[in-house]
Structures are given as structure tokens and as C-alpha cells.
Amino acid sequence: MAKFTDYPQAEDVRLVRLAQKGDTLAFEELVARHRDKIYARAYSMVRNEDEALDLSQEAWIKGWQRLKQFQGDSSFVTWMTRVTINVCLDHLRKRKRERAESIEQMDEDSGGVERQMPVDVPDPIAGLDRQELRVRIDKALGQLSEAHRTSLVLHEFEGLEYKEIARRMECSIGTVMSRLFYARRRMASLLAGLKKERDEQS
């Protein structure tokens, strides 16, 4: 007799096991649970809603195809965000080729302004509640170059180490360090600027 499964009540681990056996209803439930997170990650990387939507769906399809490889070493959603990052990086590389731009060939000296920034930038989060901070981070991320933004997303949001970021971005660890440094300095400057704007308006 077929065993009844209460999909909405089932834990991710059980849904993953069912999906690994080909249960698309279980996979649908996983998609429903985590689609916002996956979409948000795609958007953080490409900064375009339509592209992020397509890429997030592509990531879910890739996730289904590779589901048997998921061993449960991390949470399912962590695994899926890694799949999403790979899909987005492939997309950015393709877009770069099409635009003859480069996330690898990013001008490493473009951080000159940030390098000369005073180090005592005011604390960018002082006086902000979490929601307001996230709005400002979103705005600032949109003003970073692809290479800087990608470095920040992989390090701060995804928590990857330099070595792993270098592998995924296909560049050296030194390049990762440099990009991350300039990205942080630029982000601090942008957040501080946004904070100053707010303070002046209030």
C-alpha cells in the first residue's frame, strides 16, 4: 500500500530523500520552501530581476539533475545556493564574453580610489535597524562592479574561503584578496554615504 506523505510537514531531509528517488512532489515542496532564498542569491549576483528569475529556475533544474550527488554534508538549501552560484557565474562569464567585458580581467587598479580612502570611515551600520541596513546594502551592491560584488557575495553571504572563491571565479587568491579589499572599502564608502544622506534628510 502506498505510504501517504504529508509534504508540507515533512522535513527537508525527508523531502530530499524522496526527491532523490524521483518524487517530483517532494522536489516541488523544496522549491516552494526555498525559492525566495535562491532567487535572492541569483539577484545578488546578477542584479536583474528577469535574469535572476530565469537563473534561479535553471539552478533548480540543475539541482534536480544532480540531486543524487547531494550527500547531506551541508543543509539542502546551502547546497542549492552553491548550485545557484555556479549557474550565475557561468551566466556572468557568458555575458562577459558577449559584452567583451571581464570579471576575470577586472582592472585591478580600479580600487585606487578606495585604497586612498581614509581608513576611519564611520561605522556603516551605526544607528540602522536590520531592515534599513539591508535596503542600503541592496542599493550599494547595485553600484559595485560585477567582480567586486561577486567577491563580496561569495565571501560575506556565502562564507567561502579565499581559496574556494578563487577556484569558482577562476582567478588567483591574490586577485580575490585584492577584489575583496576594494569591494569592502567601496561598500563602506557607499554605506557611509547613504547614511549621511539619511542623516541630512532627517
Partner: protein
């Protein structure tokens, strides 16, 4: 503070500096206020971002969003379920080879009866397909040469490599 030192300060903040270098940079922080300020600024930015990825909501209904994923999964699974197709020409050859072989043998016998000059011209056989093998048999007294053409992939010729090395008749 040069660029290299700045990156080392950052690596220390991120816990990515080897122990020996970490000790050197920590000593620098203890003695250099600007280095300390830089480390604090980098840490503040890192902490501001960590766990604060801007949230987003998929701008489509659950069903519509899933329907596009489900459709592609269905298409991929259907493609996977289809048996692997043999190359079109290989399939055609499987059917045509026996008939072709018979036709070739028949043609050779007929050609032989037409005259010796043609026999010489036909002593070397070029195979049109790498999937195709050939065996020959000649009887000088009877003035007959037979050529068997066969499909190497056929189960009837499981030892096709050996068949290829048969000594010339």
C-alpha cells in the same frame, strides 16, 4: 601602509593568514593606529554584510514558478528515457550490408567471367565504412574470387578482429 600590508591586515581579519604572518600583523596592529583603524573598518563592513543579504520574493506564484521547472524536468527525463539511437547510417548499413554483400559477390563472379583484366583491378578492396569487414576466397583453377562483406558490429562476427587477420587465400 602599502597595499601588501593592507591585504595582510584584511587576511588577518578574515582568519586567512598563516600563524607566522598573523603574529607579525598583530604586532603591527599593536603599534600602528592606522593599521588598527583599517582592521576595524574592514571588520565592520564584513559584519554589516554577514547575514544581511537583501531578501527577495519571487515575483511569480508558486504554481507558475514551479510549472516552468517541472516542464523542463519532464522534458529532460523523457529525453533520458529514450533509448540511445545508433547513428542513422550505421542502422541503415546493418540492413543493407547482407544484401550489399550478396550483390558484391554476384558482381565479382560476373566480372570474372567478363575477362582477366578486370580481375586484376579488383584484387584490392577498399572498404567504404569502418564498420564493414571483408573476407575473400580465391580459387585460381576455377577462376573464382569470392568476397564476403560483413557488419563488424554484428553478433555473428564476435571475433571480428581475428576475422580481419585471416591470411590471404
Amino acid at each position: 601602509m602599502n597595499a601588501e600590508t593592507q591585504l595582510k591586515v584584511q587576511a588577518l581579519v578574515d582568519g586567512e593568514l598563516p600563524a607566522k604572518e598573523a603574529a607579525q600583523v598583530e604586532a603591527l596592529l599593536a603599534s600602528d593606529a592606522r593599521a588598527r583603524q583599517l582592521a576595524a573598518a574592514l571588520k565592520a563592513t564584513r559584519d554589516a554584510l554577514r547575514d544581511n543579504e537583501p531578501p527577495m520574493t519571487v515575483p511569480e506564484s508558486r504554481d507558475f514558478y514551479w510549472s516552468k521547472i517541472a516542464k523542463e524536468i519532464e522534458r529532460l527525463e523523457a529525453a533520458e528515457a529514450r533509448p540511445a539511437r545508433r547513428p542513422a547510417l550505421a542502422g541503415l548499413w546493418r540492413w543493407l550490408a547482407p544484401a550489399g554483400g550478396l550483390a558484391a559477390v554476384a558482381a565479382l563472379v560476373m566480372i570474372k567471367s567478363a575477362g582477366p583484366s578486370l580481375e586484376m583491378a579488383l584484387t584490392e578492396v577498399h572498404m567504404a565504412s569502418p564498420d564493414m569487414g571483408a573476407m575473400t576466397f580465391s580459387d585460381q583453377e576455377a577462376g573464382v574470387t569470392m568476397i564476403w562483406l560483413y557488419d563488424r558490429s554484428s553478433e555473428l562476427f564476435t571475433d571480428s578482429a581475428a576475422a580481419d587477420t585471416l591470411p590471404p587465400q
